[in-house]
Amino acid sequence: MDTTYKQLPPRPINKKKQLSHWLIMIVTVAIIIWSCTGINFGGIKSTAAQIAGAIFNGIFHPDWSYVYDGSGEDLVSQLWITFCIAFLGTFISAIISLPFAFWAANTRHKKWYVSRSGKIVLAVIRSFPEIILALMFIKAVGPGSAAGVLALGFHSVGMLAKLFSEAIENLEDGPNKAVTAVGGSKFNVIMFSTLPNLMPALISNTLYRFDVSIRSASILGLVGAGGIGYPLIIALEYRQWNRVGIILIGIVIMVVTIDWISGLIRKKLV
């Protein structure tokens, strides 16, 4: 039997590519090693395993009495508040986002610097951490749901307006021209061509943002901006693991349900 066929041909070698791959690899490893320095891994509490076990135990033996007791401090009412914070926050941000979106959208009727400046403003809003915004609003309007609503409302603008402006950029010019061609005024163009074409994208993006806002709203409470996060951090501090368990279950169920519903609606829209 001829054995020469069993040998695979040598791989083609690209020296330059190989070198850059090695360089990237070395830099990455160096960064990882640098990251390991100066972090004290011995700082783990000796009771860590025990507490983790207790939390798991709490998830499987949740405090059912906390689900609803009519006091307004129970799980269902807190989740309801969280939901309302997300709803109102998203609504406010959707309204604020519209003018921002038209500002940042890069359509050809505009000078380039107009849309560029709008995009930069949106990027700055996006990178301003939400929790810090929540803390600032807490200082301004006092702790409570209102601070959470305002923080969400302003923070979401960064992302939502970006999505909106992309939707506007993707609009086709045809319908606008058609309405103009049959003698429609500017108002007619907006009413009969721009808005109807834009609406599905706007609603779908807002729903998507609502999903994200639900998650954010559930952590805003950790800093005192209302919602389910506050009872959670209290329960963690007082080591009521059963209560921690039921709150976590509640949050997961709420997030999953809302993701599912909004996914259904978005599928129908597109």
Partner: protein, 266 residues
């Protein structure tokens, strides 16, 4: 102008959809209900707006002398983000190979593992931070664990979708020549998806840098600790310094990472 001409001038009547009306009513009702529940009134905002702008103005005059104190914790924050990303993505990598249906054929196993993954994904990062602070204790290690779990959720979701859309040809070819599972993964699956994996890890790293900056607020290490201290002592000039440093770092890392992702995908 005759009657028919007059009619032609009018726009055709739109079909009235009852569902649209129901949606609008639902949204308006929801609006009033949520205003009531959250006790948010526009007046509240305007009454206190001067206070808000006051804080803002103070933050806009950052105390630069403070920045030297900020940097050590800033580096700790970045270290947390790196380690969280690395640990999370290594676990995610192995986990994804177990839930991809074109690698593991057992539908029950992949189904259960997917449900677990989806539950982990729903928990927000700061919440994970709060839980790990309770479990592990205050410090950066809690933050690293929180970020690792969060990274796991992000990377697994994106990565298994990428794996399931790969070209089945190479897998079939290797199966045909008698390769075992590991060889199939190594020679048929990995070459097709490695760039995607790296790109998702970079994406997760971007998110982690953002979240790691606030994890300290709840005691999970990093620059957030100073954030809490300065806010508690109403030292807004220093808070402003921290926020500006955070934004600059986030923007730089976002830029580098998105550029390298673009380069990868080329």
């Amino acid at each position: 102008m005759s009657q028919t001409d007059q009619d032609l001038m009018n726009l055709p009547k739109k079909k009235f959809k009852i569902m649209n009306l129901i949606w609008v009513i639902l949204i308006i009702v929801g609006l009033f209900v949520s205003i009531n529940v959250t006790d948010t009134h526009i007046s509240v905002l305007f009454e206190n707006f001067s206070q808000f702008t006051d804080i803002f103005v103070q933050m806009a005059h950052p105390d630069w002398s403070y920045s030297s104190t900020v940097f050590p914790l800033l580096f700790q924050t970045l270290k947390m983000a790196v380690l969280g990303t690395v640990i999370g993505s290594i676990v995610a990598f192995i986990y994804t190979l177990l839930i991809a249906r074109n690698i593991v054929k057992n539908k029950v196993l992949t189904g259960i593992l997917r449900i677990i993954m989806n539950i982990i994904r729903t928990i927000p990062d700061l919440l994970l931070g709060a839980i790990f602070v309770a479990v592990i204790g205050i410090g950066p290690v809690a933050g690293i664990f929180a970020l690792a779990v969060f990274t796991f959720g992000v990377v697994v979701k994106l990565f298994y979708e990428a794996i399931e859309t790969i070209d089945p040809g190479p897998i079939e070819a290797l199966t045909a020549v008698g390769a075992n599972k590991l060889q199939i993964i190594w020679f048929a699956v990995l070459p097709q998806i490695m760039t995607y994996f790296i790109s998702y890890v970079l994406y997760a790293f971007e998110i982690n840098v953002r979240s790691s900056t606030i994890l300290g607020y709840i005691g999970a290490g990093g620059i957030g600790l100073y954030l809490q201290e300065t806010l508690q002592t109403f030292d807004y000039a220093k808070t402003g310094t921290i926020i500006i440093v955070i934004i600059v770092v986030v923007v730089i890392i976002d830029y580098i990472s998105s550029k390298s992702r673009e380069a990868l995908m080329k």
